[in-house]
Amino acid sequence: MRERRDRAGVVVDRNLSTRQVGEMFEKFQEVDEKFPEAQRRYAAFVGELEEKFLARGAEVVR
């Protein structure tokens, strides 16, 4: 899969057409709307992990 990490940190599959990006985005949004609590919970979970491991990574670099 050809992909690139955008400046915003978003992984983008470069093989996707603009239309496909929009259609996928719409589908993800529909699911997010159905399960709003899950979205918040997992965003918080990922945020915690990032905080934890990025801090650990910084220690290792030091």
Binding site: A8, R19, G22
Partner: protein
């Protein structure tokens, strides 16, 4: 020092170019435009060619700078053009773009701008509209150089 002290977008530059190569000189590229009007002040965000569409919002100068604008960016898409530097009433632009997101439920928005600093304003209008909109839509922007090369292409963070 060039001696020019005004807006970089108004600085005079002349590109010395060879004529098009023989093989391409006589080739007629067909227009990919599929609607009228195209000026953002004149369009209705819910015109029949916008609902569900992939929309291109291009700064006025872009189509002249990019040699292959029609095939590379316009094909299969709906279009509006505007100038963030010279156009008046740009508050109406934010409302129209928001109308694309909320009422026309467009699929994506691609904002094409030139590299000059004043052109960033067009991306700013799209971002403002996105922030005001209750419906989120993928928005990307493409920055073209004065000679039509793509300098930057990014999706806007939601």
């Amino acid at each position: 020092m060039s001696g020019f002290s005004g807006c970089p977008g108004s600085r005079m530059v002349e590109f010395k170019k060879e004529d098009a190569p023989e093989g391409t000189a006589g080739v007629k590229a067909s227009s990919q435009l599929r609607q009228w009007p195209i000026q953002l002040h004149l369009i209705s965000p819910v015109a029949p060619y916008f609902p569900g569409a992939d929309v291109v919002l291009a700064a006025d100068c872009v189509a002249f700078a990019m040699g292959n604008f029609h095939n590379d960016y316009l094909k299969g898409k709906s279009l509006a053009i505007a100038c963030p530097k010279l156009d008046e009433g740009q508050d109406a632009y934010v409302e129209k773009i928001k109308g694309w997101f909320e009422e026309a439920k467009i699929n994506t928005l691609t904002v094409l701008i030139m590299q000059v600093p004043c052109c960033r304003g067009l991306v700013g209008l799209a971002v403002q509209a996105l922030q005001k909109s209750s419906r989120k839509v993928p928005v990307r922007y493409v920055v073209a150089s004065l000679q039509g090369e793509v300098l930057q292409e990014e999706w806007v963070e939601q």
